[in-house]
Amino acid sequence: MTDPDLDAAIAITRFGLGARPGEIAAARGDPRGFLKAQIRREGADQPEGDGATAQQRIVAFRDYQMARQQARKAGEDPKTADANDPVKLAQKLIREQTGGDFLARARLGAQTDAGFRERWTLFWANHFTVSATKLQTATLVGPFEQEAIRPHVFGRFADLLGAAETHPAMLLYLDQATSIGPDSPAATYFKRGPQRGVGFGPPRPPAGMPKGLNENLAREILELHTVGVNGGYAQADVTEFARAMTGLSIGGPREDAAYTGLPVFRDQAHEPGARTVLGVRYPAGGKEQAGAILADLAARPQTARFVCTKIARHFVADDPPPALVDRLQARWMATGGDLAQVAEALVTSPEAWQATQAKFKTPYEFLVSGYRAAGAAPTDIGVLAPILNALGQKPFSAPSPKGWPEEAEAWAAPDAIVKRMTWAQRFTAKATAGRDPKALAADALGARLRPATALAVARAESRPEGFALLLMSPEFQRR
């Protein structure tokens, strides 16, 4: 016996990004069908940004670095020559490009009719975190999501995994781009080669810097993206996998200009020989060696278990119901990791529809749902970024490859609640002109609106105060 009013509210506020006016009413006829209709093979929606690709951004960043080097060579003090001030230039790039991409994504979140599709996408973007905390990747997070994540979120997990791990943003973020097989021809050449341009292309590391293996990406693929930290691998598996991936990099300035900023595989930098990862032997080869390891990792039941647990944790509860995880994992294994099928299993699992609001909204979720409740969308990154910084979720800047935390305890710090309130005060002062807070509350929460909150909103001494009480209410802070 389900209550269609409550289910409609859950569909929009838990699975989606919060209700825009009228949205809960639209889902009331068939809440599950409303969500299922958002699953589609072609993937997620694309935000309306400036359309720049990762390749264009990488080329622009390299141009900027080269201009800076030339300015230094020409004897200009980069701090005083204003046009070349590296701090100002870097800040400008990040403000315009990273900020622009983030604003476009937040606008999509605030305005989309397919909130579940967008939340599902944000889950995967966080699963395969690339963070702007590195200057090299600061302008690439938006293109990474658009190119590697969004097209694949309802496809096979193996395809999403392949797209994410080989995208230039990931190769830079987790240091794969400069990893070279210690016994590869490139390493041998670097050890004895002359200090001039290299014919086959790998960018020459600065003099005195050893040229060899970097195991960062290999470790995080195993630990965070596939089998998980309890997936049964050891240090030797990490190193072997890292060796297998050597050669995977990004086209550099000395290579065919058509490949600049694109993923490339350099045979000369690949570690020769067969590799053994998690007990499976992979014969010597080129890029197909790492490809085979990735494909096997995607197919492992430990990967299904690890990722399905994360899905359940994100959508339903920090401590997710085991029956839900089992159900998701069973569908994953039965369909070879078909993410459209897993999404369908999620929205049709009874455990996912419990009335209790077990999830506390992250700052981004809180703000996006606030805009949605007002029927509005953010228009200025200069307004959006500072509040996200203050709440601990700086745009596109997850603190580590693990991504943003899920648990309520991470986000419900005393200081953070006070800062949510100050934002709600400022936001509602502008957002409520001529609106009835009581209607906004009913529209935003539907059957989830508690009598105590409805009463407080109705008794508010002003429209902004009523709307702020709604946004700060326990049931709006959760989903």
Partner: protein, 413 residues
């Protein structure tokens, strides 16, 4: 009438009492010396390279392993073997005055080389990952609160695991000033009165805001994420402007944190968490500004605490160290032992804390990492015992479960 915070205060005043007075009455008889003692725990996330923080420049194998990352030319000397990274100028000055020491080969019991597991173990205080869901500082607060008034505060927008758990703790980060007595906060406290998560958190947040207005070093903080220093490109040298901005912010953050601690009812226990020490590539350029940030934070704490510095102990630790050898990309990969810093005005004299295992190939852990000679919990237990007066039984069971064999370090303060 609903009982809001304002009316509660008014009611207490009507009986000729203040809440502060009642609190002090309840804890009369506690050793006044212990009540003044303060502990600050700084977590450096990402795996801080101990061999760069306190380079063992006198170890004969150091230069060969570290090659382009070796710092023997520029490091700030401590003794015949050890030095501090050139960015750590304020810490070095404290060390010269006997107010800073290093534990150069320290590690948690975790050996998985996973950031997230190792941070969990570092902060939970458990013997293994998933061994505890609360943090050891939180449990410390719990044990102490049964004896005297103790408050804990984390600096930053999110609460680190080390302070999460059943004992209530405050949190603060720079931002606009909030009037806790205004209408909206009063209404919200009413709306949260049955909410186990939001109710207590909001009340503590408002109380801390009130305290912040006097604790602020001078005016508003710079509007940046205070605990995340800006990230320069690897090898970049023209970003000194960003680094300077970061250092100024870090110094002010340290001073403001000290301001909280010096308030009459201020916290005695502080946790601060810094990010960005995962230096797989281009380590030299990445690490220098982050260590400068850490150094400025410690400098701000020392300066801001003034006369209370003599009652303060600061611990700086990371989840693991990094490989002894430089990797193929001018950085280092996940390793095992690293360096912890111990600072304070009341430190006892002494050299390094723990033994130095050397960097001989045969001495490396798994032929790869600096080998640990000291359990991180031994340092923490020693600090809690000597600084806050906790006895062995609580340390071995409640605060660091299953840690009997990790004996507390003696002779710190």
């Amino acid at each position: 009438m609903t009982l809001t915070r304002r009316t509660a205060l008014a009611a207490a005043a009507g009986f000729g009492l203040t809440l502060d007075f009642m609190a002090r009455q309840a804890f009369a008889g506690v050793d006044a010396g212990l009540a003044r003692k303060k502990l600050v725990f700084v977590i450096c996330r990402g795996g801080l390279d101990g061999l760069s923080l306190s380079p063992p420049i006198g170890d004969p194998d150091y230069t060969g392993l570290r090659r382009s990352l070796a710092l023997e030319e520029t490091a700030l000397r401590l003794d015949g073997t050890f030095a501090l990274h050139p960015s750590m100028t304020a810490t070095h000055a404290l060390a010269q005055a006997g107010q800073a020491r290093i534990a150069p080969a320290i590690a948690t019991p975790d050996r998985a080389r996973s950031h997230f597991e190792a941070q969990d173990v570092l902060e939970s205080g458990a013997a293994a990952v998933y061994g505890a869901s609360s943090g050891w500082l939180n449990r410390t607060v719990g044990v102490l609160q049964a004896r005297r008034k103790v408050d804990a505060l984390s600096i930053g927008a999110t609460t680190p695991l080390v302070l999460r758990g059943p004992a209530a703790a405050s949190s603060w980060s720079p931002g606009a000033v909030v009037d806790a007595e205004a209408r909206l906060p009063t209404l919200l406290q009413d709306l949260y009165k049955d909410d186990p998560l939001l109710g207590p958190a909001f009340a503590r947040g408002l109380a801390t805001e009130t305290m912040a207005q006097t604790a602020m070093a001078d005016g508003d903080m710079p509007a940046m994420q205070a605990t995340t220093p800006p990230a320069p490109a690897p090898g970049a040298s023209g970003v000194s402007g960003l680094v300077r901005q970061g250092q100024d912010a870090a110094f002010k953050l340290g001073e403001t944190t000290a301001g909280f601690m010096r308030e009459p009812n201020g916290p005695q226990i502080i946790a601060v968490s810094l990010d960005g020490f995962d230096t797989h590539a281009g380590q030299a350029g990445q690490l220098a500004p982050r260590l400068a940030y850490l150094d400025a934070l410690l400098d701000g704490l020392h300066t801001g605490l003034g006369p209370d510095w003599k009652d303060t102990l600061v611990l700086v630790a990371t989840e693991f160290g990094r490989t002894a050898r430089i990797n193929g990309t001018g950085g280092t990969d996940h390793g095992t032992a690293s360096t912890a810093l111990i600072l304070g005005g009341g430190l006892k004299p002494g050299g390094i804390v723990g033994d130095w295992p050397t960097l001989k190939t045969s001495a490396l852990f798994e032929n790869r990492d600096l080998a640990p000679t000291l359990d991180m919990r031994s340092l923490f237990k020693g600090a809690l015992a000597e600084q806050l007066g906790l006895e062995r039984a609580a340390l071995d069971t409640t605060i660091f479960p299953d840690s009997t064999r990790a004996a507390p370090v003696a002779g710190l303060v």
